[in-house]
């Protein structure tokens, strides 16, 4: 099956504060100030808009090219981290479809790898000094060693480790250890009082809490999601389960 050989990677990695006020340029400038990036407000705002325009037109093909452009037009002395922060903030505030540069679907496998590497390195660069780096690496293919998506995520994870020597990794393999779907024995766990739950319901809730905690702990989530007959595998869909846990609110880009 041709569809069985198709592999797609979904990388959920970047979370930049969304603009909250009417004056976008002021919010953008304020956000830059938190990174220690100062300068003429109009200049920075226009530069941010040009960043998006260039990505939209394909003048900059990816985040690396874009930050190269940004670096050439910010004052001397601007650090590499600040350059990436400027780029990420400009994407967040001005790009019509947010994070277009790394959400763009690429066709070739080489592009997938480059794309993932960008996301991983960018996330690491932006947040590397701000928090403990932790990668949640999830595979969901059922094809074992034949899996293309596993090879892709393994390469991306290696790149992440190389870029972040002190980082830690949690690995979850949904292909060999799938998350059980809710059934008659566990489905009501979220609707009954704690004292009335059966052991199966308790175990189900505990697993949900564990999954939520894994996602919350991760600075970067790397998700290997193959396409089987043009849809994600059922194992991958099990990842939606934590959202059915009361009180759990997770914002993923």
């Amino acid at each position: 099956m041709k569809g069985m050989r198709l592999a797609a990677i979904v990388a959920v990695a970047i979370a930049v504060a969304a603009p909250a006020h009417a004056d976008n340029d002021t919010d953008f400038a304020n956000q830059l100030h938190t990174y220690g990036i100062y300068g003429q407000r109009d200049y920075n705002a226009w530069l941010g808009k040009i960043v998006c325009d260039r990505l939209h037109k394909g003048l900059d093909a990816n985040a690396f090219e874009s930050t190269h452009f940004v670096a050439a037009n910010l004052p001397r002395g601007t650090t590499q981290v600040q350059t990436w922060q400027f780029f990420a903030t400009a994407n967040s505030y001005y790009c019509p479809t947010r994070h277009r540069s790394w959400k763009t679907v690429r066709r070739s496998r080489g592009d997938y790898i480059a794309f993932l590497s960008e996301v991983v390195v960018m996330k690491q660069t932006i947040y590397g000094g701000l928090e403990m780096s932790h990668l949640l690496h999830i595979d969901s293919s059922v094809q074992g060693d034949r899996s293309v998506s596993r090879r892709l995520t393994a390469r991306a994870a290696d790149r992440w480790r190389a870029a972040h020597p002190g980082g830690t990794v949690t690995y979850r393999d949904l292909g060999t250890n799938p998350i059980p779907h809710l059934d008659a024995a566990t489905g009501l766990a979220r609707m009954v009082a704690a004292k009335q739950r059966t052991p199966a319901q308790d175990a189900s809730l505990a697993l949900s809490a564990e999954l939520i905690d894994e996602i919350k702990q991760a600075a970067t989530v790397l998700l290997g999601l193959p396409l089987y007959n043009f849809g994600p595998p059922r194992h991958g869909q099990g990842l939606g389960r934590p959202h059915r846990c009361p009180g759990a609110v997770i914002s993923m880009m």
Binding site: Y43, W46, L47, I50, L59, F69, A72, N73
Partner: protein, 127 residues
């Protein structure tokens, strides 16, 4: 006693256009402006797009003509740029050549980098 130097223009002078403008094509200059002085470039392109199509085309043709000249001829022609209102080009768009010579800082960035771009990529005129 020191006397003021001669006012005779040659290819090493910076006025009325920086001597560094004696290299590269118009397209290379614009491509470098796009990447290294992007706001100046965008203002120029917006200004251009606000002109009638025939004026825009005339600006492109004038720039091609200018960069086809020898350094001495460029120097002589630049004396007329944006100053001679009998010239329909100047009348239609006085600032048509601004990005090419009007600002030494911009010209420096353009000429530092222009050699790295293709000489005939006309898409740079569209912004």
């Amino acid at each position: 006693m020191v006397f003021a130097g001669s006012a005779a223009a040659d290819a090493t002078d910076d006025y009325p256009i920086p001597h560094r403008m004696m290299t590269c094509t118009a397209e290379q200059i614009l491509a470098a402006a796009r990447d290294f002085t992007p706001i100046y470039y965008q203002r120029y392109i917006i200004d251009k797009h606000n002109k009638p199509p025939e004026v825009q085309q005339a600006a492109i043709d004038s720039a091609h003509y200018f960069y086809s000249l020898s350094p001495q001829d460029r120097r002589a022609y630049s004396e007329q740029m944006a100053t001679n209102f009998a010239d329909p080009m100047t009348k239609g768009w006085p600032n048509w050549a601004k990005i090419f010579f009007n600002n030494k800082g911009v010209a420096a960035k353009e000429t530092d980098n222009c050699a790295n771009y293709p000489p005939d990529d006309t898409s740079v005129w569209d912004g």
